[in-house]
């Protein structure tokens, strides 16, 4: 099973900055190991929800770096709100993690 994500969401003014770290090899299919090509293996889709409503989504290619990092900003989020992030990769593997929005800067 995939390792958990690290999600941080901090309110700054009326916007919550959400930073997501994902553990994934993001193999391009071009890299060789022991004389063999490592097959294409990468996250394709990401969605993020704030209290159950989708606020951010992404479709990505294998060109996103290994252990992907994304940041996005959500208006109107308050301390205590729930952020849920899900990714799905090209092998159908998926992972969902959540965090609580923190107040302050």
């Amino acid at each position: 099973m995939a390792d958990p994500m690290k999600i941080r969401a901090n309110v700054q003014g009326d916007v919550a900055i959400v930073r997501v770290l994902m553990a994934h090899p993001m193999e391009t299919g071009q890299r060789s190991q022991g004389g063999k090509k490592v097959p294409l293996h990468f996250i394709q889709s990401i969605t993020a929800q704030l209290n159950g409503t989708t606020v951010f989504s992404a479709d990505i290619s294998q060109a996103i770096s290994r252990d992907p990092v994304f940041a996005f900003r959500v208006k109107g989020a308050k301390a205590g709100d729930k952020i849920v992030v899900t990714w799905t990769d090209n092998k159908g593997e998926t992972r969902t993690d959540e965090t609580t929005v923190r107040g302050g800067s």
Partner: protein
């Protein structure tokens, strides 16, 4: 002392003879500044955190032949105390009567508390694209728990002083097919190898660069590396034989480097090129 005077004299002479040198060092600065700016941007969300999270889990989970967690491991501040321990290592440990750096101590605890064998931990101790060894993740976790604290490796025990002295000798020891020492690259101000700037680790304000940012998430290959890996790779490029993983000589060299950097803030696990 004499060495410093000599080196400073040489540097001054070189600068006087070759004015282009300082000029070219200056033209390189905007690029270095740009690198620093984007490094800072990346440090706001560093994949090293993923390894720290994994390391925390490994620290707290009962594992190994003895089915024990590492929560009784004494990193110098008492059994189980992780907060601030990394910034105060290497230090002397009475139970082994020697000085150990953080990773060496973690390996020691994995052996004594959990029953792992050194030979297995030593087999492939550095991260690869497909595997991050457990001590690397655990060291990352332990290091993260000292983020924002000042480096303060103790120098009160005679063995800690001896460790510093031995590390210093090691730093300046020239040998091997190319006659290199650590100081060949890191003993003079303002030099670079190819395009890479070379900090002078004999000076406190630059010595911090030996220990800052480690453990580091390497952009190349996207793997986590600790100071054990960094020193190993230094000796490889120095054309020396290979140092044993988590050995006392590496703890001594780390004592020398960390004491030189003492009093400066540790920012926590970093991102490396």
């Amino acid at each position: 002392m004499m060495r410093h005077a000599l080196v400073a004299g040489l540097a001054a002479a070189v600068a006087a003879l070759a004015p282009w040198m300082s000029a070219s060092a200056q033209t390189e600065d905007p690029v270095a500044a740009d690198f620093d700016k984007f490094r800072a941007l990346m440090e706001e969300a560093n994949p090293a955190e993923l390894f720290a999270a994994k390391g925390e889990q490994l620290w707290k989970t009962r594992r190994g032949p003895k089915n024990a967690s590492l929560e009784q491991c004494d990193l110098g501040l008492g059994p189980g105390v992780v907060k601030g321990a990394y910034a105060q290592m290497p230090r002397y440990f009475a139970d082994v009567d020697k000085v150990m750096d953080a990773e060496a101590r973690i390996v020691h605890c994995m052996i004594t508390l959990q029953g792992y064998e050194y030979d297995k931990l030593d087999d492939r101790p550095f991260s690869s694209a497909t595997k991050t060894p457990d001590p690397v993740s655990i060291t990352t976790y332990v290091a993260e728990q000292s983020a924002g604290m000042k480096f303060a490796p103790p120098q009160s025990h005679p063995k800690e002083k001896a460790s510093y002295a031995i590390g210093k000798e090691m730093f300046f020891y020239r040998a091997g097919v190319y006659d290199f020492s650590c100081a060949s690259c890191h003993g003079v101000d303002g030099q670079r190898i190819r395009t890479q700037p070379l900090p002078n680790f004999t000076k406190p304000e630059q010595a911090i660069r030996a220990v800052q940012g480690w453990p580091g998430y390497r952009m190349t290959g996207g793997v986590m590396h600790t100071l054990q890996w960094r020193l190993n790779d230094c000796f490889r490029q120095q054309r020396f034989p290979e140092p044993d993983y988590a050995s006392e000589i590496l703890s001594a060299l780390l004592t020398y480097l960390t004491v030189n950097a003492q009093g400066q803030d540790y920012k926590g696990p970093g991102i490396k090129r």
